[in-house]
């Protein structure tokens, strides 16, 4: 089953130099393990391919049902150097929520995940 992150998580993003960070938080605590399992560093790097120049790093905060991603080379130089509308990475949060993950059907049903298949 395909699941859109927007339907199972919320997020906030910010900047540090040319790096954007995205904190991804499960909408329900029971969905945190799904995020941990399927929103991998590699999957996020693939999602942002073409949008960022550097590597992706992931940290886990199970206490907050959250993952933190560092997206290096995301901000066109960052800070005052950047020519981007989003020079401070404020909406990389919602850009990550566009991501769709594929979860095996029985696991998705067990966790009552909302499917995005009908929307596609």
């Amino acid at each position: 089953m395909n699941v859109r992150l927007l339907d199972i998580a919320h997020a906030r993003s910010g900047d540090k130099g040319d790096t954007a960070n995205v904190g991804l938080i499960a909408l329900k605590p029971k969905w945190y393990p799904i995020l941990e399992r399927y929103v991998t560093r590699d999957a996020v790097a693939e999602h942002f391919k073409g949008s960022i120049d550097g590597p992706v790093v992931r940290f886990e905060l199970p206490n907050l049902n959250a993952l933190n991603f560092l997206l290096h080379g995301a901000l066109d130089g960052g800070g005052t150097l950047s020519l981007k509308t989003d020079a401070q990475g404020k909406v990389f949060s919602t850009a990550l929520l566009r991501m769709v993950i594929s979860v095996p059907d029985d696991e998705a049903r067990k966790s009552s995940l909302p499917s995005s298949d009908a929307q596609k």
Partner: protein
């Protein structure tokens, strides 16, 4: 010892709500009003102002903020802690002293002024002594930009603020204190936490991280269930109600809008987060993976379990330097085929700049309405291509001011000599901006000596 100490956040950056400090001081009981004015770029702006006028270089909004909370400070004993001093804390203090005298309350105001963070005049001495001030991210030595440095300030911690409070200051003004120290210092002072009480210091730092961005933890910019957040027009700024055991509750004054919830606080906790295991400050290394949040009641989130570790022997230094010029121009193209028209305008503009022999370090084109914020994630599978309008946003950056200046003359002509259905140029020519960039470095703690004066 007080059982509960209330620290209210009344300013998240220089430019935040002018009403918030007074609302925090008057809206209910608080002990401390914490005002954070400084961002990385702010220090360099202030340094430029100080170069023009030696009595400037601090956040001038602070004078109005203090005026608006004077009754609370004078009559009810609310104490104010702010990094409003920028690159000139003594001048900021003098302005506040003058204000207090003019209001006839000079005898009731004791201003604590924290200095010592400003390293601008010591750069060459530090380099000569073997402190390379290399860029933390790229490793480049400071010599590559030495002649373009505008300001250099070490991020300092809670100790001098605690000293000012213990000397009975009721307004404490610092320069480049860390944002979080402004909240942790009064807790450390009130509860007598020692400089090695790592878990409690970490708790104070995390309380500071939560409230340092003003309403961003109490319903502002909150994505979770955003439609249901009440009365943002009257949004309540946050208050940390802390106890000596290192636990605290994030809340806001009764009768205000917004919402303090586990999701709203969680969003703020992950904001600008690096490695959550080590949130490094001059006072302590805080571990964000130890934080426990619990909704204790409406608009009350209890925070507990926080652990910290010994701080490092370094301080971060924020160095600002001149890094060329930039300008951004925009034009709006309308339906039909708005995106295609904007794309053609981009092509035409690039060709004209080429013909003029103008070269830039960087050119960036964005199509606002189609893909400016989410880039290829939006344009790869667009929901529609039938945009009602698209804004062409075209930016250039380079060291040659004249070239950037010349570029700004090339936007308006497109209205008559470029693709059709164009509007939205009423703002006139783009402005050329000097870029002040940011150079993060580290320095040994031992070389920075802070000083507290009572004025």
């Amino acid at each position: 010892m007080k059982e509960v100490v209330r620290v209210a956040g009344g300013q998240g950056f220089w430019g935040d709500s002018l009403e918030a400090p007074r609302q925090q001081a008057e809206g209910g009981p608080i002990d401390y009003l914490m005002l954070d004015y400084l961002a990385e770029v702010t220090m360099s702006i202030l340094q430029k102002q100080k170069e023009r006028d030696p009595s400037m270089g601090y956040a001038r909004d602070f004078v109005g903020a203090i005026e608006s909370v004077l009754p609370a400070v004078v009559d009810r004993g609310v104490r104010v802690i702010a990094n409003a001093g920028g690159v000139n804390p003594p001048a900021c203090a003098a302005a506040i002293r003058k204000l207090a005298e003019s209001k006839g309350v000079g005898g009731k105001i004791r201003i604590g002024v924290v200095t010592g963070d400003d390293l601008l005049g010591r750069i060459d001495e530090l380099i000569a002594d073997g402190h390379s001030l290399a860029n933390m991210e790229t490793g480049e030595p400071l010599s590559t930009i030495r002649d373009r440095v505008l300001s250099a300030n070490a991020y300092i911690g809670s100790t001098p603020i605690v000293e000012a409070l213990s000397r009975d200051a009721n307004i404490v003004i610092t320069g480049r204190s860390t944002d979080t120290a402004l909240t942790m210092a009064p807790l450390r002072y009130e509860f007598g936490w020692s400089a090695t009480d790592w878990n409690h210091l970490a708790a104070g730092i995390i309380a500071g991280h939560i409230i340092e961005c003003g309403a961003q933890c109490s319903g502002g910019n909150c994505l979770y269930d955003w439609r249901s957040i009440p009365d943002l027009a009257n949004v309540g700024y946050p208050i940390a109600e802390a106890k000596a055991d290192g636990t605290f509750v994030i809340t806001k004054h009764a009768g205000t809008g917004g919402r303090v919830s586990v999701p709203s606080v969680s969003e703020q906790l992950v904001y600008e987060m690096g490695d959550p295991h080590e949130y490094i400050t001059p006072d302590v290394v805080a571990d964000f993976t130890t934080i426990h949040l619990e909704q204790e009641g409406p608009d009350r989130v209890r925070v507990s379990g926080i652990q910290g570790r010994p701080s490092t022997d370094k301080l971060k230094v924020s160095i600002a330097y001149r890094a060329g010029f930039k300008a951004v121009g925009t034009l709006v193209y309308s339906w039909p085929d708005a995106l295609e028209k904007a794309q053609l305008a981009d092509k035409v503009l690039r060709e004209r700049l080429e013909r003029l022999g103008l070269h830039f370090d960087h050119i960036l084109t964005e199509f606002v309405g189609a893909s400016a914020t989410h880039g290829v994630l939006a344009s790869r599978n667009p929901v529609t291509t039938d945009y009602p309008e698209v804004q062409l946003r075209f930016g250039v950056r380079g060291n040659d001011r004249a070239a950037v200046e010349r570029f700004t003359r090339e936007i308006a002509p497109l209205v008559l000599n470029g693709p059709p259905s164009v509007t939205g140029f009423a703002g006139g020519r783009p402005k050329v901006e000097e870029i002040v960039a940011y150079w993060p470095a580290l320095v040994d703690k031992s070389v920075v000596t802070t000083k507290v004066e009572i004025l």
